[in-house]
Amino acid sequence: MNDAIWAGTVSIAGHESAELEAYLARPLGDRPRGGVVVIHHLPGYDDPTKEIVRRFAARGYAAVCPNLYSREGAGVSPDDQAAAARAKGGVPDEQLVGDVAAAAAHLNALDHANGRIGVIGFCSGGRQAFLAACSLQIDAAVDCYGAFVVNDPPAQFPLKAGPLISKAPDLSCPLLGLFGADDSHPAPDEVTVLAAELKRLGKEHEFHTFPDAGHAFFAVDRPAYRPPAALEGWKKIFEFYGRHLSA
C-alpha cells in the first residue's frame, strides 16, 4: 500500500484568468483517482481547510482548494483577505463558478485523473457547492450547512448571496447535504424545503441532519465542533464519493 501524498501551494488561472493561489494535495501512487474541489468557508483560506484537502488526498483523491479571496492581493494574510472580501460584499456567484471550473480543470489535467469531479463546501462554501453543481458538470456535490440556498438572507445582509433554489432543475449530480439540527442558517425547515424540491424534480440527494450539532460542526478549531456529527459526517462523505467518483 502506498499512502504517501504530496501537498503544497499551486497557482491556477481562475475566473477571467485571475491568478489564484490554491492548495493542492494528491496521492503519490499511480492509481486512477477522482478529484475534489474544496470550497472554503467565509473566514477564508485557512489551515483547517488545508487539512481537509490533505484528508482527501490521504483517502486517495486529488483535492484542491482555491483561495477565493486571492484577488485581495498576493502576500496578504488570508484573514486580512477575508475581511477585505467581506467588506466588498463577498464573492460574486459568477466568479465563484469560474473559479471552481478552473480548479476542476486543474484536477482533471493531473496525471492519473479519472475525469470525475466532486465539490464540497462548508458554511458559505456549502451554498457555493450547490451553486457550482447547478452551473457546471459535476459528478458529486456535498453541501455542509450552506445557508440561503432556499431562504432570502436577512435584510441588510452584507454579502451578495441570494437564494439558489430556482437553479435546482439544473443540478448536474447527486447531492449530499450535511446539516446541524441546532443550526439557524440553514434552519431545519429550510433543509426540508430543499429536500422536497429536489424530490419533486427527481434529483438524487441524500440529506442528514445531526442532533446536538449547529453551524460549523466540522470545524475542529472552533467551539462549534461536534465530534459525533463530524465523524459520522466524514463517513457519509467518503461513502458518497466512493460511489460517485470511482473510475
Binding site: 467565509l42 473566514p43 477564508g44 485557512d46 485581495e72 492581493g73 502576500g75 496578504v76 494574510s77 484573514d79 486580512d80 483577505q81 477575508a82 475581511a83 477585505a84 467581506r86 467588506a87 458554511c123 458559505s124 451554498r127 450552506g146 445557508a147 440561503f148 436577512p154 441588510q156 445582509f157 452584507p158 454579502l159 448571496a161 439557524s184 442558517h185 449547529g214 453551524h215 460549523a216 472552533r222 467551539p223 462549534a224
Partner: protein
C-alpha cells in the same frame, strides 16, 4: 454563515498593524463567527485603511460583554476629559 449587518464608519486616527503604524480611514463592526477567538460568535471590529490595502488592518474580536464594556469605557474616558480635547477640529495649542 451567521452574518448580519455590517456597520461601517469613517475613522480619523492611527492604528498599529502587523507592519507597524498606519493612518486609519475606516472601520467595520459586525457580529459573526470570529477568526481566532474561541467563541461561536463575537463582535468583530476592523480598523482599516482601504487605500493601503487589506493588510492595513487592526482586528479585534470581543465577546458581547467585552464590547459593551469597551463602549462604556470609551464614553467614560471622553466624559472625564475636557469636551473637544480629542476632536479633529481642535487646533494645536498656540496655533
Amino acid at each position: 454563515m451567521c452574518t448580519y449587518r455590517t456597520e461601517k464608519i469613517e475613522l480619523d486616527g492611527a492604528g498599529k498593524g502587523a507592519a507597524g503604524w498606519f493612518t486609519l480611514s475606516g472601520g467595520a463592526v459586525y457580529v459573526d463567527h470570529p477568526y481566532h477567538a474561541c467563541h461561536e460568535h463575537t463582535v468583530n471590529i476592523d480598523f482599516t485603511n482601504a487605500a493601503e490595502g487589506p493588510s492595513a488592518r487592526v482586528a479585534v474580536e470581543l465577546t458581547e460583554e467585552s464590547a459593551l464594556a469597551l463602549v462604556e469605557a470609551i464614553q467614560k474616558a471622553l466624559a472625564a476629559a475636557p469636551a473637544g480635547l480629542a476632536s479633529a477640529r481642535r487646533r494645536p495649542a498656540g496655533a
